[in-house]
């Protein structure tokens, strides 16, 4: 392993340690109850993860997040690709998306709860809405950028229009689609926590905000670390998958942990 590779592997870790050090110092200087030191927060993590109930709550959150994300990908990728290849479809959906785009999806949560209750369905729907737009947008851009001659080559080989969509547009746009999914993954995490903040029933966000209500600040910050770590791990895992799927495309700058 070369020195530069070790450096690249190590630097995200060093960044995390640096951040924790600053936190520790700041907390020691400020000395308020509502801002525990990093060490105190870290010490509270095992008790959360050791608690069966809490663990189930976190897994529930993850499950909703994954389902919301997968459903969004299943709808958004085909929609984005079709918009990218058909001007009519694009000009039909574009205004609709422009209206939906600036609305914070979690702000819809109270209304959705009125219709669908406080259960999984509402929360999953909000995650679905939260991640759809970047996936649609990136799929759209990816499909639009597909080189015309590539489609012509396919047509000359006898591929029908749906076959060209599936076997040329989809793979050609895949790097762009996966970039959208990566953004979507981070957004899913954010929306997940926010939805649980509003529909306080269970989940990682619920643990966090209950602890906040009860002034258990170590638990609050421990949850923030846990959610942050979930983000890093999920992003890194997705990046591994993405890199494997689009090895054929232009080499990207390889950043081990990044924030989209």
């Amino acid at each position: 392993m070369s020195a530069s590779l070790i450096g690249r592997r190590l630097s995200p870790l060093l960044a995390c340690i640096g951040l924790l050090c600053i936190w520790q110092a700041a907390a020691l200087v400020l000395k308020t109850d509502s801002f525990p030191t990093a060490l105190e927060a870290i010490r509270a993590i095992p008790s959360i993860l050791g608690d069966h109930e809490a663990l189930l709550n976190i897994l529930d959150s993850l499950r909703r997040m994954v389902i919301g994300l997968v459903l969004a990908a299943l709808v958004s990728i085909p929609l984005g690709l079709m918009m990218g290849r058909s001007r009519a479809i694009a000009s039909f959906f574009n205004p609709l998306l422009m209206v939906v785009y600036p609305v914070p999806k979690a702000a819809l949560m109270p209304v959705i709860m009125l219709w669908l209750g406080v259960g999984d369905v509402s929360k999953t729907l909000v995650i679905f809405l939260g991640v759809s737009i970047p996936i649609i947008y990136h799929s759209f851009q990816g499909a639009k950028a597909v080189e015309e001659k590539m489609l012509w080559s396919g047509a000359a080989m006898g591929l029908s229009a749906p076959q060209r969509m599936f076997r040329i547009v989809l793979p050609a746009a895949l790097p762009e689609i996966l970039t959208g999914c990566r953004t979507g993954l981070v957004l899913a995490l954010i929306t997940m926590v926010t939805s649980e903040m509003i529909a306080r029933q269970n989940g990682a966000g619920n643990i966090l905000f209950n602890a906040l209500d009860m002034a258990q600040y170590e638990t609050v910050f421990a949850m923030i670390i846990i959610i942050g770590a979930m983000g890093i791990v999920l992003d890194a895992a997705f990046e591994k998958l993405r890199a494997r799927l689009v090895r054929w495309s232009e080499p990207d700058v390889d950043i081990p942990v990044s924030f989209s």
């Binding site: 080189e147 001659k149 000359a156 080989m157 793979p171 050609a172 895949l174 054929w248």
Partner: protein
């Protein structure tokens, strides 16, 4: 052993024996207008008529922007002309089909497929079994001089290598008509000569019809039965020169042949005229 075996499914129609020339491609008063960004229209091709006989090798020469690629796209069925029509084997061209195989100036390889995957693509599409398609594709890859590169992805290839993959990918599915847009443009002189010979061999054996765009007068005369010289703005046919040189042709012999030299000089002059006319209309 033949590199590209004839597909059993392809049969020549009884009427298209070689006794009398049969029109493979008919381009009939074709014009092509493009809307440009300034809402102005640009006449790329103006009233082109050209008949290409079955099994003929026809080259198109002309200055950049005279509509050579556009003409090829029309025959390929990728572009519908704004006026006139084109036919293949007597039927109006309404779209692309595996009977006409394009080799694009921009290669247009599938970047997510490696060299073997690209070359096999058309064969697999036509239902050839994987093993058979792979064997045929490997032979073609060897023919274009890319043995050992089967598992390379397009981004890992040089321009000339991409061009050779593009040629192999189109030859692989045995189109009756080859539409080649400057297919040897990015190659070094030696590879170019080798592939010219290979193309001639395939053409002589399979009696394909070839429509070949090039900027090299030399190459056009060496390969073709007919050389079409075009003018620009609008794209028109200036002259069609029949190349009456015996076949099979060998480059080494031709270079010393005064007939060959005369063709080259005459066509060079024609192209000079075209450019001269543009400067002093």
């Amino acid at each position: 052993m033949s590199v590209v075996p004839l597909r059993p499914g392809v049969q020549t129609e009884p009427s298209s024996g070689h006794a009398q020339p049969v029109a493979m491609i008919e381009i009939d008063h074709v014009s092509q207008m493009f809307e440009t960004s300034g809402r102005r229209s640009h006449l790329a091709l103006s009233d082109i008529s050209l008949t290409i006989e079955d099994g003929a090798f026809v080259s198109i020469l002309g200055p950049s922007g005279c509509g050579k690629s556009t003409l090829l796209y029309i025959v390929g069925g990728f572009v519908t002309p704004t006026a006139g029509r084109a036919k293949v084997k007597g039927r109006a061209i309404t779209g692309p089909g595996p009977d006409r195989g394009p080799v694009f100036q921009e290669f247009a390889l599938f970047p997510w497929k490696n060299v073997l995957g690209n070359v096999m693509y058309g064969l697999r599409q036509q239902g050839v079994k994987r093993g058979e398609a792979e064997a045929q594709s490997r032979r073609l890859i060897e023919m274009v001089g890319l043995k050992g590169y089967e598992s390379f992805y397009p981004k890992e290839l040089s321009g000339g290598m991409k061009q050779r993959v593009a040629i192999a990918r189109t030859l692989a599915y045995h189109p009756e008509v080859l539409l080649m847009d400057e297919p040897f443009g990015a190659l070094d002189a030696h590879t170019r000569t080798r592939l010219q010979n290979d193309l001639l061999n395939i053409w002589e054996r399979d009696r394909k019809t070839v429509l070949f765009v090039t900027h090299s007068v030399d190459e056009a005369v060496f390969l073709s039965d007919k050389v079409v010289v075009m003018t620009r703005s609008p794209g028109r046919i200036k002259q069609i020169v029949d190349i009456d040189l015996p076949r099979p042709r060998r480059r080494a012999d031709l270079l010393l042949d005064p007939h060959y030299q005369k063709y080259v000089v005459d066509i060079e002059k024609l192209i000079d005229d075209v450019l001269e006319d543009e400067l002093h209309p």
